[in-house]
């Protein structure tokens, strides 16, 4: 026989469950604009019918329903879309970082324009042509010196600015690794909370969201993989468990977070005492465990061995993630070869400055052993070097190329003449000097300085074009995946309103049900057995 008050109990369950659904709807609406929030749903499930199963169970005609219960509050999310999103974020991170570096370099080189190095070179050439026409003219000589200084300044400026960019990229790599390390620590801490909550049969949806957000962020830095580990205890089937996070290096998995334990990333090349900010070419990364006393223990990829440093070569990063993008700009060393946008550009500028200066000096300097190579200045003294290195090391680079001090003080010392004694009207060597710009130089891949620079700008342009195009592609793809993710997880106000009405009406109906049962009970209690009263 069922209980007299069973109807009340069943309706009360209805009230409670609809109320939790209504509250969850409220939670969804409140978080409609929260970054990374997945909408939540109360899974409703009927409670077991009456009578229960058993030998002593009362015999009635079939089960009678006993109401509803909320079995779980679940977030709506598609982990496959998450994986796709992270793959696209990886690519976008790389190409965005690369585009940014190239843009900055383009800004500095400032070509094609009327202000860049090629303009300075053109003007220098003009001044030498004028000197050829008027070799005895002090004005023409002063102009040659000033234009020569302008060429040297252009080299210095480009060199120093790109070097500055490179230093900035180094700082950025340090900050990125710090940030990644902090994310790893946070993931481990969220894992710990999740592992504490789940065995009690709860679904910490908002912790899952927070953790997914962190992994999204991490995947813009590196290619990462995750694996779920169930919590045990009374965890629900839908519970997501703790996440083990791996760095996915070309198939090789390097464990970064395991439960509430986490590793920290360290730069393997020369670096600051913080272990992450590079001071010179990067070679790779390794991971360590930070102990309670701040000391560090090296870990291998699956943490089974400790104490020996295992380096992961930078090439394993496969053009994925912002980290690799920055490193590609900053420069790295692999099998003894230096690569990277900034170091390669600096190297090319150095070669160009050095070869141009050497070739120019060779023509400018008097060569007593060669009749064709005789030069002299306005006073008839033999020609000396025109370009020198600022630090007097004799090794000219784009950073230290400068016009010799004695020429700046006395422009008459420019060896415009190809004579042995003083011939004020002889400007033949000035013409030879002018033609250095167009002379092929073996060390510059057998092309002239002019062509070499054109090639350098062309290469930069091609690299830039590729980087911009792929950034755009990655953005489009990421956007598409983001759309799919939003389609699954984002809050729709219309939907929530519909749900609200549904739950409210169900709540109202349950309340009405209680009134009905109340009335039936009223009939029994107050109306029965009072015949004739």
């Amino acid at each position: 026989m069922r209980s007299t008050f069973m109807g009340l109990e069943a309706s009360k369950r209805g009230l409670f469950t609809q109320q939790s659904a209504l509250y969850t709807t409220g939670h969804n609406i409140s978080n409609a604009n929260t970054e990374g929030y997945s909408r939540q749903r109360v899974n409703m499930q009927p409670t077991l019918g009456y009578p229960g199963i058993g030998l002593n169970a009362p015999k009635t005609a079939g089960f009678i329903g006993t109401g509803v219960q909320a079995s779980a509050v679940e977030r709506i999310r598609d982990s496959f879309v998450d994986k796709q999103f992270r793959q696209e974020t990886n690519k976008l991170g790389y190409w965005e970082a690369r585009s940014k570096s190239i843009t900055q370099m383009e800004d500095i080189l400032n070509e094609p324009s009327d202000y860049g190095l090629s303009k300075a070179m053109d003007e220098f050439w003009n001044s030498l042509q004028d000197l050829n026409v008027n070799p005895e003219d002090g004005g023409a000589r002063a102009v040659v010196v000033q234009r020569g200084i302008a060429v040297a300044d252009s080299f210095n400026y480009m060199y120093n600015s790109i070097k500055q960019l490179r230093d900035n990229a180094g700082e950025e790599i340090g900050i990125l690794l710090e940030d990644a390390n902090s994310i790893l620590e946070q993931i481990a801490s969220i894992n710990e909370q999740i592992m504490a909550v789940e065995p009690n049969g709860y679904m910490p949806n908002d912790l899952y969201d927070a953790r997914d957000n962190l992994i999204d962020q991490l995947s813009s830095y590196f290619p990462v993989e995750t694996k779920k580990v169930e919590s045990g205890g009374n965890a629900l089937d839908q519970a997501e468990g703790s996440l083990t996070v791996f760095l996915n290096l070309n198939g090789k998995q390097v464990k970064l977070v395991d439960g509430n334990q986490f590793a920290q990333l360290r730069n393997s090349g020369p670096s600051d005492p913080d272990g992450v900010t590079p001071t010179d070419k990067i070679t790779g990364l390794h991971i360590v465990k930070v102990n309670a006393d701040k000391s560090e223990t090296h870990l291998n990829e699956d943490w089974t061995q400790t104490g020996t440093q295992t380096d992961y070569d930078i090439n394993l990063f496969n053009n994925l993630g912002k980290f690799k993008g920055l490193v590609d700009s900053y420069g790295y060393e692999t099998t003894g070869v230096t690569k990277g946008l900034y170091p390669e550009m600096l190297e090319k500028l150095n070669t160009m400055a050095k070869e141009f200066a050497n070739e120019f000096n060779k023509i400018h300097r008097d060569d007593p052993n060669n009749d064709e190579g005789r030069t002299s200045d306005l006073y008839g003294n033999p020609g000396e070097d025109f370009f020198v290195s600022k630090d007097n090391s004799g090794n000219i680079t784009a950073g230290n190329i400068y016009v010799s001090d004695s020429l700046i003080k006395d422009p008459n010392k420019i060896a415009a003449s190809n004579s042995v004694g003083a011939e004020p009207g002889n400007g033949k060597n000035a013409l030879n000097l002018a033609n250095v710009k167009f002379a092929t130089i073996a060390a510059l891949d057998d092309v002239s300085v002019q062509t070499y620079f054109e090639g350098l700008i062309g290469q930069l342009g091609v690299d830039g074009q590729q980087a911009y195009r792929l950034t755009y592609n990655a953005q489009t793809l990421q956007q598409a995946v983001l759309e799919r993710r939003a389609s699954v997880s984002s809050v729709s106000l219309d939907e929530e309103m519909t749900n609200m009405i549904t739950f409210q009406q169900a709540y109202n109906a349950s309340a009405r049900m209680i009134t009905v049962i109340d009335e039936t009970l009223d009939k029994i209690i107050n109306g029965m057995g009072r015949v004739g009263l």
Partner: protein
């Protein structure tokens, strides 16, 4: 597919920003008049642009050099013209002097005039452009004729006075702009010395008339040099014409390479503008009322 408000507004924002960046690019092109403003816009155009700029710069410089060549050659020609007139006059005077009817007094007067002509030619030898002596070879700061230092003689032993001055008038094409007539000047001077001493010594009419031949020989030599200068002037004129057309071509090619087609770009810009406006007006519509607005 389930579509939510945040998807609509996210998409809308992305498209608006795309449309804005296209608008920005077109505006930049119109403002600068250039198709490319950084190498990555179009690496080939950027690379060629550097080359064309240099080429144009070179042509402009060569034009400037040509101006200098004109200056030198014209001045030289003009000087020689005056030297020629002086010799012509000397010739006439000598014809007069060698006549048997001229008295020693007449000859002395003629000699006085001849001496002035000699000085005139000496000063012509010291012609300058700016502060440069144009007949000094590469020793442009030393006068070819120096009265205090043996006239032409000392300079003749210095081979720098025989050196050419060349300027570049086109890629790899050098042109000599000076002339080195020191020997000629010296010969002319010697003839005048000769005449003067002969007249002073009371030479006969026959002796004097033989000197007319010497004057005529130098005159011929002078004409040869002038012919050479004339030929070079012609060459400079040809080169000048070539450079001028080259400058037009280079400017044209540079413009073709990197300048925008204004009609086209402005049309594109207006199209893009209207697309942007459309996108904005659509934007105002995506903020649709939700069910909230209808539930009381």
């Amino acid at each position: 597919m389930r579509v939510t408000q945040s998807m609509l507004s996210g998409n809308m924002l992305k498209n608006l920003s795309n449309s804005y960046s296209k608008l920005g690019k077109l505006q930049e092109q119109i403002n600068t008049g250039k198709k490319v403003n950084r190498p990555s816009d179009d690496p080939v155009v950027a690379m060629k642009g550097i080359g064309y700029r240099t080429q144009l710069n070179n042509v402009e410089q060569f034009s400037r050099n040509i101006g200098e060549a004109y200056n030198w050659l014209d001045t030289t020609d003009d000087t020689f013209d005056k030297v020629g007139s002086a010799l012509q006059r000397a010739n006439e005077l000598m014809v007069q002097a060698s006549s048997d009817t001229s008295t020693p007094e007449d000859r002395e007067k003629i000699d006085a005039e001849l001496q002035q002509l000699q000085k005139h030619i000496q000063s012509l030898a010291n012609t300058k452009i700016g502060d440069k002596y144009i007949f000094s070879g590469t020793k442009t700061t030393t006068a070819p004729y120096n009265n205090d230092n043996g006239g032409y003689t000392n300079n003749l032993s210095d081979n720098a006075f025989g050196k050419t001055i060349e300027i570049e008038v086109f890629d790899g094409i050098n042109m000599q702009i000076n002339t080195t007539p020191l020997n000629l000047f010296k010969n002319i001077d010697d003839v005048f010395e000769d005449i003067s001493s002969k007249i002073t010594n009371g030479a006969t009419a026959d002796e004097l008339s033989s000197l007319i031949t010497s004057i005529n020989n130098n005159m011929n030599e002078l004409l040869k040099t002038r012919a050479d200068i004339g030929a070079r002037q012609n060459r400079v004129e040809l080169m000048d014409a070539r450079l001028q057309s080259q400058e037009v071509i280079a400017t044209e090619r540079m413009s073709e390479n990197e300048d925008i087609d204004y009609e086209k770009t402005i049309t594109e810009m207006i199209t893009q503008e209207s697309i942007h406006r459309a996108a904005l007006s659509v934007g105002s519509r995506i903020i649709q009322p939700t069910l909230v607005d209808f539930i009381s």
